[in-house]
Amino acid sequence: MWLYEKKLQYPVRVSKKDLPMARYLLTQFGGPNGELSAAIRYLSQRYSMPTGKAKGVLTDIGTEELAHWEIIATMVYKLTKGATPEELRRAGLGSYYAIWDKGIHPSDSNGVPWTAAYINTMGDPIADLHEDMAAEEKARATYENLINLSDDPDLIDVLRFLRQREVVHFQRFGETLNHLQGYMNGKKFY
């Protein structure tokens, strides 16, 4: 069961419209290495995990990823606020606007819609955890790319936060992998 807390996990400050940057940020809203992929992946994998620890980690990190998904949407919302169709078109968002207007649609920076093909729920706990660790590294790398694309200190501040979260998640998934490997081998590891 999910509850919603009416509060961002991290404050998002945006001082000026930046349509190209909004377009790049969409990849973390609906792209392959984005927060929606992470959330759906972890929240789907948890059902076939064999231990409470693994179910806990996947549920909790999956939930945190939804909070990050909200942060990305907030950035896009603020960066595109008040944009005219002409401005959107000049920023390369004309095709996006034609289909989705001012809606914030889960797609990547090229307008390719989100797909479950971005995730895997193998049902094999070891395979699933490796996918999760790879996903965290890909997200981290993508945030580094986005940091390099921006020169706005407020945006970079949020992107650094989101990037650091991926590092921590990787560590937790690594610890979960250790635990599951021990469990699958019939031994107890701490």
Partner: protein, 69 residues
């Protein structure tokens, strides 16, 4: 589970004793050292940095901006 082959050099590492709490390293098996909680950042700093734990803090050095080195 298949029986372990202890005759080869690599697999005989499994027969060595180990300290409690430290898993033996195995072939074809990834292992991430577990974190040991020592201290925390102050709350405000933790939020700014993106982690509560100094040992997990891994800042990114951005491409130099125009005019920087």
């Amino acid at each position: 589970m298949t029986e372990q082959d202890y005759t080869t050099v690599e697999n005989s590492a499994d027969t060595l004793s180990h300290y409690p709490g430290i898993p033996r390293l195995r072939l074809a098996t990834a292992y991430i050292p577990p974190q040991v909680f020592r201290e925390m950042f102050p709350l405000s700093e933790a939020l700014n940095k993106g982690t509560l734990f100094p040992e997990l803090y891994r800042p990114y050095r951005r491409y130099p901006m125009k005019g920087e080195v």
